[in-house]
Amino acid sequence: MRRYRRLGAVLLVAALATSACGRDPDKRDSDKKAGDTTGVTDTSIKVGGTFPLTGVAAPGYSEIPKGIKAYFDYVNAQGGVHGRKIQWTVKDDGYNPTQTSAVTNELVLKDKVFAMLGSLGTPTHEAVVDFLNDNKVPDIFVSSGSVAWGDDPDKYPWTFGWQTDYESEGKVIGQYIADNMPDAKIGLFLQDDDFGASGEAGLRKYVDKQIVEVQKYTPGGTDVTPQVAALKASGADLVVGFNVPSYTALTQLVSLKVGYKPQWFYSNVGSDPTLVGALLANFSKGAVSNGASLLDGVMSTAYLPGVDQPDNPWVTLYQKVWDANGEGGPLTNYLVYGMSEAYTFVQALQAAGQDLTREGLVDALASDGGDFKGPTYGPFRYSDDSHLGTSGFQVVKLAGGATQPLTDVLTTDIGDADIEKYDGEPATPPSNGIPK
């Protein structure tokens, strides 16, 4: 009994002693220095990202971080950026927001990364965007075309998008249809999330009255025969699909089954002719004799060169990078996507200068990012008013497994912004493959 009383006394004294010291009211603000250099040393920069490496969303998407890594390895082999090598850490979230939250905590609080790069997915990134902004962690180039990543820099000053947003893409597709196919009866085939919803919103700005049917699918769900049957029954002769590549293949297969032959117009995400063509080609025992030919005449948009253009100087560079630093296997458009994100990130690091801070990186992107020249067809929209990514599209047609342009590069923005022709020259990569 006595022992316990003594322990109580010790605790009481300790409590009094600590409280007597008083609280420093500014303690919580004491972190405000000239700039936050978390994760940066004279020789290294720690960068992290979250991707679905396992589970339903892993096919395809798990290649993006491999592309990023290959490009960073390439840059590091040539001395890094301002003498710093980039250390790239990927964490698996299995496309589950609960996991995204856990592994982002790990990257930010335990591994203490300087910045997040390329983290993938809309619902997944929704889970961490507040946390990253509250903790003032640069949240660079979210791999998703949601307008949430950049339309309101006052709300999320630390978050930047990278790819074209789905709403702008819907507008460009809508205007093209309104101008060139004004009599088409349009059916929509949409992924049931913000990807499909934003695309539909953009389309409706131009072709609202032409749309006769809307069908949605849940990724990973069951058979899409009922949806395609409903599209066919509606009499739609032009189907615009905002879907992922596997569902491009599935809609083509189901259309064969139900005997439906509309003009197909897939969004950029779903149109990867090399990937979809290869998937369809393997059904050779069936009626599909040549997978790529099944896609002939399909329309889409492009904002980045793809592996179907091996002579494009960017694709040549990426092929070289992948051969030297990759994990083997062919170059894919997911790898191209990852390497392109990494390229823009290196541009941002260069622009932020020798004295790298979190604030410096974000400021440099907002002030200089609009002038970055890179693989994307159009310019980035980065400014103090917008953190949205690139917005240059080309409407294309697939033929013989490759894309053929149907229009000039067109730029636009979300909301009521007009669609304009982009006059800039296509950029070519610097000779050493590393931005200045």
Binding site: A15, K69, D92, Y95, P97, L109, P123, E126, A127
Partner: protein
């Protein structure tokens, strides 16, 4: 022995008192532990807290009253969505405790309906119905406009109350950041839940449950009203799930359908079996295992020279093999096996 010692030893045998004392000790330890750890560890402990609360509830249902639920994640979803709707604009209509109570009430309402339906079924039929429920609830959330569809709802955890921050600081000398705040909430809720569950399991109701999991025919002959006891187990279990869902919403900061896949239900089920079926300590240990294991496996993989991607791909393999190994080598779970060793030692001594 002094009379005081005798009297306190006698008091210790009263379950209610013992559980309350253990709970108070737990709360005190928690205060110091959470105050001294890094925000990252606090975040992990917050995860462990909501998993453990849900697993505790599932222990009552599956481990104790013998109804196999493959859809407990659905009840967490109900609690989480209730919380998310109330916290959406960061300005709840009533204090945070009220929000958590609301989550419990709504979940219990759903749980009671499911429980009444499930009470008529047994064995794999309960499993089938609850599995369908686990898939149906997230897809319903995807369908309904007000629930944010696929993107889900943002959850804004209210600011740390000044009085709370000051009290914790007085005691531990550590400030409370928002991440740690959720951990404090979670562990307080965990201790309260476990004290309540422990008492319930030692009570008449608890004995009834145990009887019907062992032999429901005999139990009925002995005068147990099966249906009522089964529904009650469902209600208690879903109350815990609702509370866990509420905390999960705050810890994850978003509530969206993809967070409540069948995986979550499987995770909870494996937590109670790995830890040791039918005991709260087993549920607690199982939850700890499932919180810390995945991260440990991937870090082990990367430190062994694997690439990040390979290590991530290896994690589910290791997780699955561990589940299999525990079932094969320690069928009574970790707690059960330790107990067996303990008894054997005492028997020899």
């Amino acid at each position: 022995m002094s009379t005081l010692a005798v009297r306190s030893a006698a008091l210790w045998r009263v379950p209610l008192l013992r559980h309350v004392v253990l709970g108070l000790v737990g709360l005190t330890v928690m205060l110091f532990v959470l105050g001294s750890l890094s925000p990252f560890r606090d975040a992990q402990l917050a995860t462990m807290a909501y998993l453990a609360i849900a697993a505790g509830g599932l222990t009552v249902l599956t481990g104790f009253s013998g109804q196999l639920s493959l859809g407990h994640g659905a009840f967490l979803a109900v609690g989480a969505y209730t919380t998310a709707v109330l916290l959406e604009d960061g300005d709840p209509p009533f204090p945070l405790v009220g929000v958590m109570v609301a989550a419990v009430v709504v979940t219990v309402a759903v749980g009671a309906v499911v429980g009444i339906a499930a009470a008529r079924l047994h064995g794999p039929y309960v499993a089938g119905a609850t599995l369908a429920l686990a898939v149906a609830v997230p897809s319903l959330a995807r369908y309904l406009d007000g629930l944010g569809q696929e993107q889900g709802l943002h959850v804004r955890v209210p600011d740390v109350p000044t009085w709370f921050d000051d009290t914790v600081w007085m005691i531990t000398g550590a400030d409370v950041d928002p991440t740690s705040y959720v951990a404090y909430l979670g562990w307080t809720a965990l201790v309260v839940t476990y004290v309540l569950l422990a008492n319930l399991m030692r009570s008449r109701v608890g004995r009834t449950w145990r009887a019907l999991s062992n032999d429901d025919v005999a139990a009925e002959i002995a005068g147990v009203r099966l249906g009522r006891a089964r529904v009650l187990a469902f209600v208690v279990s879903t109350a815990a799930a609702g509370l866990a869902g509420s905390l999960m919403a705050m810890a994850v900061r978003v509530t969206s359908p993809s967070g409540f896949s069948v995986d979550l239900s499987v995770t909870l089920l494996s937590a109670i079996v790995l830890g040791g079926l039918g005991t709260l300590s087993g549920a607690l240990i199982g939850s700890a295992l499932l919180t810390f294991l995945p991260q440990a496996v991937t870090s082990w993989g990367t430190s062994a020279g694997l690439s990040d991607v390979r290590a991530a791909e290896l994690a589910p393999v290791a997780y699955g093999l561990i589940m299999i190994a525990v079932v094969l080598l320690a069928p009574a779970g970790i707690v059960g096996s330790l107990r067996r060793v303990w008894w054997r030692r005492r028997g020899i001594a």
